[in-house]
Symmetry: C2
């Protein structure tokens, strides 16, 4: 399975939306070993050290892709080896009581210094770890987290909760401002167990540090699955998903992680914030909905009860061609408003379809899927395809239910899974490769798409010259609008990639803001989206949220710089 | 239609859950006149003054009901006429600038002094308006609301947002503590328009003061409906629904009002809190989810964009008998976990079924309904009925799709609509009649039901003697648990009803709390649920919420006593 992950047949997509499942219904598990130290993460990119570049296959694939897109590439550059990296010395040492769970070794500090955005990977690749944590703590349980938070508050040290480290918005980067004596990463990796399963209510109590494959493996032993499959699935964690309102597998209805929450438990500097386990409630403002999206600024999420289910027994998928993205969008609108609730409803524009070998570049492709644990879904997909036909959609030939083989659905799925690996290679070849995502209501979508696309294209052209590409797909759809997801590929100038992307990002984020979209549908705000997030959120709400934070984190040590300005 | 509302064929159900629709899919509209002063609300109970008791039909119906249940009743008592009511004189007068929209006449003050819980109705019936607002303001727009809030903050006067006044938890009762110079009700009734309809995105911008019939009539002109039908539908308002996280029509998936929100606009003492109109977002903590359930403590909700839809074209319903409530519950669990998404899935225990003429008292009844704007729902209901059969359920005879006539589904619907009217009569006859509701996960449900039921039964017996009844139904169901709704009927002692119910309420609320349920699934917290809500919510969350409130309402004038202790 790993080979398929690393070397996809197709192309590239970026972090973010879900669906990447095998025919059996669960994403291909990575060959990740649970034990600490047995297998180390790359200090700069996606995956493990023994998946390090150069990989002939990945290189060939990336070259083919770049050639096909007409993007000029460079010779493969090698990443700066960890041994050659210079990290600023730690400003502080862990207290004796916490020394056993803390480390300031180079690999730990480097691999916790950045997330996994394009600029993060570029920085890591070049050995530019400018804001490493002073040390990394790996608590084994809640009491150690409590002691860490107490120490941070008393010493005025920033505490950065760290799950899989897959943030693409600077959410785990220890840039905390001058008002702190240092910053530490609190790595939740040791809290990775499924603690309880309730098969009657179909829910499970799971520790926050459990990654996608880790929790799915444990749930699978009981015949259950969470079915939350963001693109970062292999490494990202339950706690991270809740803290960032991650969106996953389901394209409709239950799109975000918080839609699966029964209760959440977090440790704040002011004590334990644990909600009651309830299927639904209307008792005041929802405590769970205040932790969801708090991005580590209120406390450390330690566990949650989440809704799980058996693997779906009935599945059906299809790919449908449309003459244009906008024609496809009109069709998706009707499907989203029909109450059919497809699990997959991802519309790819022609370029994105070509990129992922789901199409030949002449048409948009809708990847449509239905699934059920209980009953056949044939009637649902038939009705959806009828709607497609009414909009001029043509079903592309493929086998029947859950058929394997070289078809658009499979191509798209494989590309989706392999994308983060492929991007490391693209960085080494000098290709700028990043994504951004948003949501907008249907009636504004055509103009929104045109303007954001134009802003991205123009910025790319100004910044990168000829050969840039902007692609778009829908990752999730609602009755009242889609969540468009843009992929950007362009030739980069070596050594200037960060500034190049930042210029493009400013342009596209300004366009999204001006056109009324959200600065993020499921990537979170982190540090990178702050300027636009600040414009988007209502000021009294910002004040309320600051008030809430002040009450539970009076010293302001929880992930400063995220959502709010750090305390000064 | 009104006759049908006032005089049901059956019995009684209480405030709270939804579904009360005609065959056409929209609840029977009340004969409510929009113009102020043309038709006045009863000052003490449900409906309008010209629906005042005694009504022969209602009396006959209530008598039959009481006889059937073996509840001893008294002669019909007459409510204390408004002219005979003594209200404490207002402690303050509106400022000149707001005099035009303010009134301190007796009817206005009395009809804004209480909500619509059983004890509220009893108090009103007896003329016990102990905490009337000093005056009632009826702003015509946001600028007048702003001025009211400014004045309240500067004069330290409690500001109580008032929608339909249908709170059953003391949410609009001006009991605000000694720290205030007075209290006013801000009646949103003049903000009752549908301001914009976006047929492409299927959403509408609606003012917060629009009642159910008022907004449905305006949406109906454009062929659309919100389909939020709580039992209070006739009078309750959009703003109230959002502020209290009201639950309505849909028994699954989109159960609460906040599930239909695209954006919310509220005026806080710190300024305008208006979120961006988005189909979905993951940008930090959701601002809309912080207003939802805020119960007037953060500001006055003035309008919202909500998801609307055409009327369903395809509907199918059925009633299924089960030998016991618990056998029915097992079946409902399977339906809820099957992903069939029924719009109605209300399980009535044998007593409740008899009460509403949906059964003869020998069996539990499941009222099941499916609807779609787009496609036939036959397959869905067939599968649901197959599941029912597997659990020993027997489909009760009835006509085909949308058939009218005397069957269990129709009986239940009519009883649901008529209940609040009927209760006024029961109060006049000396019958204690109240409800409480909660939610719990499936695996705890059987023991939970047994213990809560036992606590209610024992308390009723101690407080009211022989002849008390406790019934239960599910109003909403989730994959991980139901929302059980209890109805209590018992002989009351005249003049002691309030204390009697309070004793019963303490017992059942203690049991719910001890067994891990929520103190409310959709009735909100208000003032009445505070002791148990305070036990339920995590303390750091309470601190966070207080911090949030402090930031937007520094003077603490917004609905003090609700959710939090009033500022002292």
């Amino acid at each position: 399975m790993r080979t398929r992950l690393v070397v996809t047949r197709a192309g590239l997509l970026q972090h973010g939306d879900g669906v990447a499942t095998t025919a059996a219904g669960v994403p291909a598990p990575a060959n990740r070993l649970g034990a600490v130290g047995v297998r180390r993460h790359k200090h700069w990119g996606w995956g493990f050290e023994d998946q390090q570049l150069p990989s002939g296959d990945a290189h060939a694939l990336a070259s083919t892709l770049a050639t096909r897109l007409g993007i000029k590439t460079w010779d493969l550059e090698a990443p700066v080896a960890l041994e050659a990296v210079h990290l600023a010395p730690p400003r502080l040492a862990p207290p004796a009581a916490l020394a056993e769970i803390s480390t300031s070794d180079e690999h730990a500090r480097a691999s916790h210094a950045l997330g996994k955005s394009y600029t993060d990977v570029v920085r890591g690749f070049r050995g530019r770890f400018e804001h490493p944590p002073d040390f990394v703590a790996r608590p084994r349980g809640e009491s150690e987290i409590e002691r860490l938070l107490e120490w941070c508050a008393s010493e005025r040290v920033a505490a950065i909760p760290f799950g899989g480290g897959t943030s693409v918005v600077g959410g785990v980067t220890p840039i905390v401002g001058a008002g702190y004596n240092g910053a530490i990463s609190i790595d939740l990796g040791a809290l990775d167990r499924v603690l309880e399963v309730d098969p009657v209510s179909r829910s499970a109590r799971i520790q926050a540090g459990a990654s996608g494959p880790t929790l799915e493996r444990q749930l699978g032993e009981q015949g259950l699955t969470l079915r939350h499959f963001p693109q970062s699935f292999e490494f990202s964690t339950l706690g991270g998903w809740i803290a960032t309102r991650a969106a996953g597998h389901f394209a409709t209805v239950w799109t975000h992680m918080e839609d699966f929450l029964e209760s959440v438990r977090a440790l704040t500097p002011a004590g334990v914030w644990a909600s009651r386990r309830l299927p639904g409630s209307g008792a005041g403002v929802s405590p769970d909905r205040m932790l969801a999206g708090s991005e580590g600024t209120l406390g450390v999420i330690t566990e949650a009860w989440v809704r799980v289910q058996p693997r779906p027994q009935h599945r059906h998928s299809a790919a449908v061609r449309f003459a244009s993205f906008l024609l496809g969008a009109e069709c998706v609108r009707e499907i989203a408003q029909a109450g059919l609730h497809p699990s997959n409803c991802r519309l790819l524009d022609a370029g994105e379809a070509r990129l992922t070998s789901a199409g030949d570049g002449s048409h948009a492709v809708l990847v449509l899927g239905f699934e059920s644990t209980d009953h056949p879904v044939d009637a649902s997909i038939e009705r959806a395809l009828e709607i497609c036909a009414g909009h001029g959609g043509e079903v592309t030939p493929r086998g029947g239910q859950a058929a394997a083989g070289a078809d658009a659905v499979t191509s798209w799925r494989e590309a989706f899974l392999g994308a983060p690996y492929l991007r490391d290679t693209l960085v080494a070849m000098g290709v700028l490769s990043e994504t951004f995502e948003t949501a907008i209501t249907w009636e504004r979508f055509p103009a929104f798409h045109e303007r954001v696309n134009a802003a991205a294209t123009q910025a790319l052209s100004e910044v990168c010259g000829e050969g840039g590409h902007v692609f778009c797909r829908f990752t999730h759809v609602y009755p009242d609008g889609p969540a468009p997801y843009f992929t950007v590929l362009a030739p980069a100038r070596r050594g200037e990639e960060v500034e190049q992307w930042q210029a493009v990002k400013r342009a596209v984020s300004d366009a999204i803001e001006a056109e009324g979209g959200t600065i993020t549908h499921h990537h979170a705000v982190g540090r990178d989206h702050r300027p636009w997030y600040d414009l988007q959120r209502p000021e009294p709400f910002a004040a309320a949220l600051r008030g809430a934070k002040g009450a539970v984190d009076p010293a302001g040590v929880m992930n400063p710089g995220v959502l709010f300005d750090p305390a000064s």
